[in-house]
Symmetry: D2
Subunit: 179 residues, 4 copies
């Protein structure tokens, strides 16, 4: 279709909408930070929930992360409203295990801080601690086929960022900022 | 949301719908086969368009490929109808260069036959020969932000399959079937 | 460097060498099959270790898998013999957590059956059950920085193949062969 | 093997060694910057080679990029010296098209700035402009099976960084720094 002559990318609006959508879907930064703490507390006993929140915030500033979140939540919303075409509608609605596009979007989030996050993603995606258990609870009327994987991926990416930063601190370098 | 008790994955329906959607969106197997021939004719001078069609068909039988096609076309359709939420609607509608989720789905198709297809994907995605030029034509009312990358990815995957099969023939092995 | 005029790819030799190297490094099919059973037994209570072995064998016939295995074990071997250059030598020798190339090769194995295997890879890579615990035991003189991730990836890929095949059986289709 | 008690990651040394190895293998920043200019000059007519060099430098500061470069060049060097085991030695020595691990490492470099770089990677990897043609010249005694893809990937990643930064400038944001 013809590009709109008035179109121009508004990064602030994308960032802001990402936050709003996460909130509307029941996901707040502290809940993702808890997953990060769960993943990292054995390695960094002094790590606090507050610090984890800063790392989660840092992940959420990344454009690739925002784009994947918006796309995934949009598909969840449409599935919930029954507005997707069959058989895609049924696959997403029923969180079909052989679907796989949810994992693909999630991996693009993990990748933002490199391959060292894959393991952490898989681990929380399997165990479903905290907010992930809630998102997978099939009792409510919401569909979180994408969001579930996305939240795990944000926590895994934040964990990678912690690993990079803690190494920088150890070496007395300034390192990547927390936020 | 609760899993429907009557839900069961119907692979035949998914395969069939994938074909129907490609056709409805103006993409036929011979057009993808032409991209494959464009990519491979210098390496295999005897390769025919008909043979390329069989390789394209083989790619289209893969579940991961079908899922990515359905998801991408669904998002294109919804963008066309203005049914996505802002600012995702504007990004997909205007084929925003910094969006990236289209490339992510495309890569999941290329990956079906391994990493050797990445180069071919990038090459046709940049040059836009044949059907890809048509899909990128911003004059008509259709939105092909995802489909454009998907079609290039199918052609790249089919090219990888050719490379594997031709090697098998060279070694006198039966090798993977064409289709 | 000039291509050797006598070079031609010998797929049988690559497949055979892959098996030999796995055996020499202490990894046998039944041990990988145990990881598969660990990952899948809750979903398919009738699954046997013998069946899992067939799925592992199927994964090992894939060229991408063989190439990643050979490359990873080669790097492990060279690190063990102290033949890599510094600081790569020290990173691989000490299984540096921020290295990441081991996870990258592993993901290329998981990808062979699509993105649905990412979760299983991360899960066993974190928990390190069975043979993975042994490979991570830093007491012996061997270096398994790559092999450890590779074995988890083979188990995850075999699990994906099981999921695809069991669905095929459920639908009364012939489906992909076990081996 | 046992972790060395004296081991600690030295990020400065890794960064420095990466530069030294690139130089020793005949790759200097201006040559990669030329690839970036080749890829981006149509979109940003004012872009200078000097500016492209700053973007290349920025890519080279990333740990994931450094690790992939060191690993790839190490394998090239060992293949050149005939020190890899057969048949991996022959595959790398002859730049076997069905090998694929070179593309996998390259993709991990491209991924550093997200999926939007895949297309540019494939395009230069196919066309082989500038330094890439030289690296692919099979007449000299050097083996550049990995380096060739790595250099294209660095150029593609730098191009992605340009796209992100130019957008930030357009929006009047400070955006990611050039270096």
């Amino acid at each position: 279709m013809p590009k709109s002559s008035s179109y121009s990318l508004n990064s602030a609006k994308i960032a802001e909408t990402t936050r709003e959508w996460l909130t509307k879907r029941g996901v707040e930064t502290p809940q993702i930070a808890e997953l990060v703490l769960f993943l990292q507390k054995d390695y960094y006993p002094d790590l606090t929930l507050q610090e984890c929140e800063l790392y989660v915030e840092a992940v959420l500033t990344k454009r690739e992360v925002q784009n994947a979140i918006l796309t995934g939540i949009q598909l969840d919303l449409l599935a919930e409203e029954g507005k997707l075409l069959s058989p895609l509608q049924e696959m997403i609605e029923n969180d079909e295990g052989l679907y796989g596009c949810d994992e693909i979007l999630a991996l693009s989030i993990v990748n933002v801080y490199g391959s060292i996050g894959f393991t952490n993603f898989g681990y929380v995606d399997k165990l479903k601690p905290g907010i992930l258990k809630h998102l997978n609870d099939k009792e409510d009327a919401q569909c979180h086929t994408f969001l579930d994987d996305i939240v795990g991926a944000i926590a895994a990416a934040a964990s990678s960022r912690i690993a990079h930063r803690k190494q920088a601190e150890r070496e007395g370098r300034v390192g990547p900022p927390i936020d």
